[in-house]
């Protein structure tokens, strides 16, 4: 029955093509807050400079990793699709455990999925990874950029410059203007 077979095949392709959208449609819509954070994560690539040895080759992708569950839905892909960072193709990766984090340049740590921040951060200390999170004690634990909501209900940035310096990341002064400085007590 070639016709029937073909019909099944077409149906499969249809499911494959539309599946993701269907899946997304099924999940809860991403909060505006996270849409904004996704854009911010991508924008970090423009205002932060990574050392040359962060890449093994020119073709090596620029990796934005998300650890501990994906709060962005497909939004991060939407923002970064087809983009390049200084010639490196942008790739979004979702990590479940720290062990999976190998090649990575921006790591978003979802506060929901991580219990021991200090261990995690000390594990990647010294590597040129811009660590970003919305966890409240993230900077105290050694993280670099923290998202928080200010009194105007706007997403704001706080930065631990020392940590970035240690990771040999150069933060643009323009970005620094926007961020609250973290002063370790």
């Amino acid at each position: 029955m070639p016709i029937l077979r073909r019909m099944i095949r077409l149906g499969l392709i249809f499911v494959l093509l539309t599946g993701r959208t269907l899946l997304c449609a099924q999940t809860a819509p991403v909060a505006v807050e996270y849409q904004l954070k996704a854009v911010f994560l991508f924008n970090f690539t423009k205002f932060v400079e990574w050392p040359a040895d962060a890449f093994n080759s020119d073709q090596e992708p620029f990796v934005i990793g998300v650890l501990g569950g994906n709060p962005f839905g497909s939004y991060l892909e939407d923002v970064g699709a087809g983009e390049k960072v200084n010639g490196h193709p942008l790739v979004i990766k979702y990590f479940k455990t720290l062990d999976e984090v190998k090649s990575c340049h921006i790591l978003f740590v979802n506060k929901a999925g991580i219990t021991n921040l200090s261990d995690l951060l000390s594990a990647i200390k010294g590597r040129s990874i811009l660590t970003v999170s919305d966890a409240s004690d993230f900077l105290r634990s050694g993280g670099m950029v923290r998202f928080y909501i200010n009194s105007n209900n706007k997403v704001q940035l706080q930065m631990n410059q020392d940590a970035a310096k240690t990771a040999r990341l150069q933060i643009s002064s323009k970005l620094l203007r926007l961020t609250d400085k973290y002063e370790p007590k």
Partner: protein
């Protein structure tokens, strides 16, 4: 006064001022135009640069959705007082931040429009896209007032006005000095020429200032003066000698003339007595002793009487002619027509044999003359005509006047025997006769008297004639009399 009639000094002044004015005008206009476009360009470039700087600075603020920071960045524009207002739109085209705070949001364009900066009446504004890498983050709108340009223009205007004033003054002063170089020699030459023509003093020389064309002219002028002076000298010398000569000759002539006149007068006067004696005694002889004479003797006596009478006439005429030289001409306005008619009547009364001659007296112009003398002229001319034409069967005499070149000429015309123009020279001489006494009697003084009278009036006499066809005698009484009389 039109330009070409102006004195040379003013002409030079005006020319140089006009030229410098034109040059200044063109230069300043060029300068002004150049500065106008340049300053517009500069202001535009400045705003563009400013826009680029603001755009570059505001990338992060737009990227991280931070209007506070964006406003802060925009507020840096207060250092640039010409910036009236500015605002940022995010990539969705929604107003994101604005400057200054006092400006109401409605005064900004609701949406970003096309890229670029444009001038309008009193401001310059434009949109500057804000791009990061290849991503459009938003748009900057910036608006600048043009007081910068206007301030600059005010300054330029003041400078230009100053430059024009100073240059014009300099041009004026320079032309005052330089034009003297040209005009002074010319004016001096003119003054000299004027002085010469007024005072007729050819010993004056024009002063030479420069070796230019005017200098050459002055040289030529002076040379001409030298020549004139020389010629004047020879001329006056010549004149003096000539005058001297004329004086001597005139006095010599006068003396000779007087001598001649007194001689002829005394001769005529002295001749009169013996002729009267001859006449008287011949008459007595004829009256009282003719019976003692035979026929031949009577004939001789008759001849003696006739010739003695003729002699007496001659002497009378000669005396009259001589007296004419002494008599003064007393001019009055004379009706020539009446005068001629009276003369004709008188002559016909005296000699009735001429009644057959047709005499036509035309209306003539009056003349300013001595009536007694001119009557004599008419008597002589008309009697001549009657005398020389009465042999003709259809004799006629015409008296009239005509105008020749502003001069009234009177004429007496007949169709008598006329005369040969070859002997014209003899016509007006004393005792000159073209016909024999036997043919036509007369003393040969009549035309000489006519000539003398006419000449004494300042007029001219002339005659035209042809043998057997008649003669015309023309005379005028003054060289010029008014035409409209």
């Amino acid at each position: 006064m039109p330009f070409h009639d102006l004195p040379i000094q003013k002409k030079l002044m005006r020319a140089s001022l006009l030229i410098s004015g034109m040059v200044l005008f063109v230069t300043c206009t060029t300068f002004f135009t150049y500065e106008f476009f340049k300053s517009r360009q500069e202001v535009k470039e400045k705003l563009e640069t400013l826009g680029k700087v603001i755009s570059a600075n505001s990338t992060a603020a737009l990227a991280f959705d931070n209007p506070t920071d964006a406003s802060e960045i925009l507020s840096a524009l207060k250092l640039e007082p010409h910036i009236e207002s500015a605002c940022l739109y995010n990539k969705e085209g929604i107003l994101f931040a604005h400057y200054p705070d006092s400006v109401h949001l409605t005064s900004f364009p609701t949406k970003p429009a096309g890229e670029g900066y444009f001038f309008s009446q009193s401001f310059l504004d434009g949109f500057q896209p804000i791009v990061l890498g290849d991503k459009r983050l938003g748009t900057l709108y910036i608006k600048s007032d043009l007081s910068d340009i206007y301030d600059r223009f005010r300054l330029y205007f003041l400078i230009t006005a100053g430059v024009i004033a100073v240059s014009f003054l300099l041009a004026y002063l320079l032309s005052v000095i330089l034009q003297k170089n040209i005009s002074l020699p010319v004016l001096a030459l003119v003054e000299t020429a004027k002085a010469i023509s007024e005072h007729k003093d050819y010993s004056v020389r024009a002063r030479k200032y420069n070796k230019d064309e005017v200098g050459l002219l002055i040289d030529a002028f002076n040379e001409m003066l030298v020549k004139i002076q020389e010629q004047n000298m020879t001329l006056s010398e010549f004149n003096t000698t000539l005058e001297q000569k004329v004086k001597t000759r005139t006095s010599e002539l006068e003396i000779a003339n007087k001598e001649l006149e007194s001689f002829s007068y005394s001769v005529s006067h002295d001749l009169r007595a013996p002729v009267r004696a001859i006449n008287g005694f011949a008459a007595i002889l004829e009256r009282s002793h003719s019976d003692q004479l035979d026929k031949e003797g009577k004939e001789f006596l008759h001849t003696i009487l006739r010739e003695a009478g003729r002699m007496g006439h001659l002497i009378d005429d000669l005396l009259a002619f001589a007296r004419l030289g002494k008599k003064e001409v007393q001019k009055t306005m004379v009706d020539m027509t009446t005068l001629a008619k009276e003369t004709v009547d008188e002559l016909l009364k005296l000699d009735s044999e001429n009644n057959a001659t047709k005499i036509n007296v035309k209306t003539m112009a009056p003349a300013l003359c001595d009536a007694v003398l001119v009557r004599q002229v008419f008597i002589n001319l008309i009697s001549n005509s009657l005398k020389f034409s009465h042999n003709k069967p259809d004799a006629f005499v015409e008296i009239g006047s005509l105008e020749e070149g502003g001069v009234v000429t009177y004429y007496v015309k007949d169709n008598g025997v006329g005369f040969d123009m070859r002997y014209y020279n003899k016509l007006f001489g004393v005792f000159q006769r073209l016909h024999s006494y036997e043919e036509f009697n007369g003393t040969g003084i009549g035309l000489a008297i006519v000539h003398r009278i006419v000449t004494r009036h300042g007029g001219h006499v002339r005659a035209e004639g042809k043998i057997n066809e008649g003669a015309v005698f023309y005379f005028s009484l003054s060289s010029l009399i008014p035409v409209n009389h």
